[in-house]
Symmetry: C2
Subunit: 211 residues, 2 copies
Amino acid sequence: VRYELYYWPSIQGRGEFVRLALEEAGADYVDVARRGKRGMAAMMKLLESKSLARPPYASPFLKAGKDIIGQTALILFYLGPRLGLAPRDEASRLWVHQLQLTITDLVVQIHDTHHPVSGWLYYEEQKPAAKRRSGARRTSGAIVYRNSSAISNACSAFPKRMKRFERKVPLLIALHGRVGQRPRIKAYLSSERRVPFSQWGIYRYFKELDG
Amino acid sequence: VRYELYYWPSIQGRGEFVRLALEEAGADYVDVARRGKRGMAAMMKLLESKSLARPPYASPFLKAGKDIIGQTALILFYLGPRLGLAPRDEASRLWVHQLQLTITDLVVQIHDTHHPVSGWLYYEEQKPAAKRRSGARRTSGAIVYRNSSAISNACSAFPKRMKRFERKVPLLIALHGRVGQRPRIKAYLSSERRVPFSQWGIYRYFKELDG
């Protein structure tokens, strides 16, 4: 089966977790919305469809034959055994999923450091709350401890703070480095398939929030 | 197996999703931390344990024999087939899980209407941001559409706003009513096992946020 990933074409965002899994496995897939206007139209058509019995609530979602699956962690749970990336026994598979769900919580926490009031308002409209929230994040930053795949994202949003934090989690930093050296991941990261970091995704850099 | 649920004893919170599943199935379970000081101590001991190979990050978590499982949606995914509450075929089971994950997102959204800056600060310390966030929520309140189990919670936090919204989603309101009439759920809701709504949980009522 050729997998079809549907996600916003100009940000890494939540779609990046799925892209990394597909790339690591060398899977046959299409990043549909990055194929230009037609791809975006195809994504919006599915998102707004009223005839789908099991519609995804938002992107990213994955189309695999007739299956359409939303929710990032669920997509990974679905792909894991199919791509040979997850353990086979139930308890271990559920454990990997539990870690991914905790990473999902972390992603919301990070996103909300710059958009604590609403994702529908500009950052500039919620700067004071963002400053306070980022300060609060610092104290509970220890959550990163158990979430290695969040490292490069956190580094891009909070370079100064992460520099200090890195010394406390050497194994995590080493793991992050090793993942970046996996042959397929390395090739992917320097390819055109990789969306660059930007000021429009989840992990935005604002000097004043990097206390 | 006798299930052990570990969750804060004085709030419904995320634990309530698990309590409702266990009650509907008439399962043999203990709500450990509600057993008083000893129960709380047992929960904290597990949460702070350094010897568990697969530690839950936070409560609620479930102990089923040797399995310890964190993340509300995952606990429900685990219990579903065991309690006969979820469909058997993979696609349907994943669909139910997808819905629960979207409800999980909604719970964060609701919690953050009164704590947009940080869960570590009092509501009074983040009132202006909370007011703006609750206003923003109104425009995107349509997410409740697809999440029937969130209804009674939303009603307790936003009674005025929900009154207006109810007219738009009659089927959802009817479904919510039917669930409350299920014999075991009905018995549970009027029992001492049910934690009452309070100002300390996820769904708090603040007059000024119910615009």
